[in-house]
């Protein structure tokens, strides 16, 4: 590992100033991904600015009945939080299906959202990778890409985003609050992430020195009849536990009078960002909540898939998973 300076500033403004003023600086929170990447030589910061003790450790209700989650909250605490379990069960499910208990105890919400891809070539500094070294090439297209993207990829990069949390937050219409050298701003979570295009080195729209301070959720949708939140996160992986998603789905569905009143659907494991399935949502709005309608809508969304030699299985998997999840939710409503 390359040597680096370490600072633990007392307040967010000082942290932003430190990182903004040092091109090779990185924020450190739980460190479960960053420290690993430093060991691998993928990340070589000259300065780590520790933000894990800044006052972003609270989970609180908002005035509108939503939830504000501090960026420094650890994943395990958020998954166990009573308000999350009662009102946003898909969020708890997504967190608990990711990583191991040890990692969830250390990793923060902000860091989870900014984790880097697990593409083998990105993590191996002896190989070319356009995300790690722009212009060096992408061996994944011809090589090991079974886990990689089928939607929104480019000739330069087919990496996937591996955060389960981000997929659930995408379906829950979360907003990300940021602070940075130019002040504070907020973004829909789905706008935080970029598709690779010809700049795969940029995972997100964050500017250097910008820091996630919190994630905010609007009030949860409820069915007209019951007070149970109609949402679910389901993940398919190679092992029963402690593995990244091959495909995952987060869905919110409210069926009234046998028709789709409200639907939100997001896929994980398919793209460089959590894939909010807006075409499928549009196709379903107001339609009868039948399996045929679900299949048709999901196929419309997935028609943009461009699979490679080894990852074409993701299309059938994503379709069946999404249809099964929507059918289950429709049956519960």
């Amino acid at each position: 590992m390359k040597t680096f300076r370490y600072e633990r500033p007392a307040d967010p403004a000082a942290a932003v100033t430190l990182v903004a003023g040092t091109p090779g600086a990185r924020y450190l929170a739980g460190g479960t991904n960053l420290v690993d990447l430093m060991k691998l030589g993928v990340e070589t910061p000259e300065l780590l600015v520790d933000v894990s003790r800044l006052p972003f450790g609270e989970v609180e209700e908002t005035d509108t009945g939503g939830l504000r989650i501090g960026a420094a909250v650890r994943g395990s605490r958020l998954a166990a939080h009573l308000l999350v379990r009662e009102r946003y069960p898909a969020l708890s499910q997504a967190l608990l299906s990711g990583a191991s208990a040890q990692l969830r105890n250390a990793a923060t919400i902000g860091g989870n959202l900014l984790q880097r891809t697990r593409c083998l070539y990105f993590q191996d500094v002896s190989k070319p990778c356009n995300k790690r070294r722009p212009g060096s090439g992408c061996p994944a297209r011809e090589g090991a890409h079974r886990d990689l993207a089928v939607l929104g990829a480019s000739e330069h990069c087919i990496a996937t985003n591996t955060s389960d949390l981000a997929v659930a937050l995408a379906a829950l219409d979360a907003t990300v609050h940021l602070t940075g050298p130019a002040g504070v701003r907020s973004l829909p979570l789905t706008d935080l992430y970029r598709l690779p295009g010809d700049e795969p080195e940029r995972d997100t729209v964050l500017r250097h020195g910008e820091l996630i301070t919190s994630v905010e959720l609007p009030p949860p949708p409820h069915s007209a009849r019951s007070r149970a939140p109609l949402m679910v996160y389901r993940k398919v992986r190679d092992r029963a536990s402690y593995a990244f998603a091959l495909v995952s789905v987060a869905a919110v569905l409210d069926v009234r009078d046998a028709a789709v009143h409200e639907v939100r659907l997001a896929f994980g494991g398919l793209a460089a960002r959590p894939w909010r399935a807006r075409e499928a949502e549009q196709a379903l709005q107001g339609r009868p909540a039948t399996e045929e309608a679900f299949v048709e809508a999901v196929r419309t969304e997935l028609s943009a898939c461009r699979p490679l030699r080894e990852n074409g299985y993701k299309l059938a998997l994503a379709e069946r998973l999404a249809v099964a999840v929507l059918a289950d939710l429709a049956g519960q409503g």
Partner: protein, 177 residues
């Protein structure tokens, strides 16, 4: 530059270090304090052999920079027994022959202690039924398998590890009552 003064409370003893910033908690324990009970397996947070308790929470010590833990309370496998009596989880691992080579065992034991605490605190896992009422989660075999999935055992002693954790959870629960 590149070094920082750090104080950690390790197994109830205050330890002051002047550390290279790159030092992980795992290396601080093994190389600076000679506490070699905590094992280095993969050194990338994938195997769980390095699991210790940080402020009561189980974590992978190989992924934690020691400088970032200033003031934290660390418990390693060396700090579990008291007055020559083994911790109930340690005793259960012996009683159930829950290891073969033993390399993963310190991490398994620290992780099991964390898992028992988390379940007793009502923390759900990925296999906890959503409709379950709030409160302590019983550590059934499927719960233990899911909650211990961050600890690999290449000898494959998993069957007996589940038995050991099952019994230890009951013993710890009874002691708490």
């Amino acid at each position: 530059m590149g070094r920082t003064a750090v104080t950690l409370e390790i197994n109830a003893q205050s330890c002051a270090f002047d550390l290279d910033n790159r030092t992980t908690l795992l290396d601080a324990l093994r190389e600076h304090l000679g506490l070699t009970g905590t094992k280095k397996g993969c050194d990338h947070g994938q195997c769980g052999a390095c699991t210790v308790l940080v402020d009561g929470m189980r974590m992978n010590s190989c992924l934690l920079l020691a400088v970032a833990l200033d003031g934290a309370q660390i418990i390693t496998v060396e700090g579990l027994s008291s007055d020559a009596a083994l911790h109930p989880v340690q005793q259960a691992f012996i009683d159930h022959d829950a290891f073969q080579c033993g390399y993963c065992t310190p991490g398994q034991i620290c992780s099991a202690i964390g898992a028992i605490t988390e379940a007793a605190s009502g923390w759900p896992s990925a296999v906890t039924p959503q409709e379950r009422p709030l409160g302590p989660v019983p550590l059934t075999a499927p719960e233990i398998r899911e909650r211990m999935s961050g600890n690999l055992c290449r000898c494959g002693a998993y069957v007996n590890i589940v038995n050991a954790v099952t019994e230890a959870a009951e013993a710890v629960g009874e002691a708490a009552r």
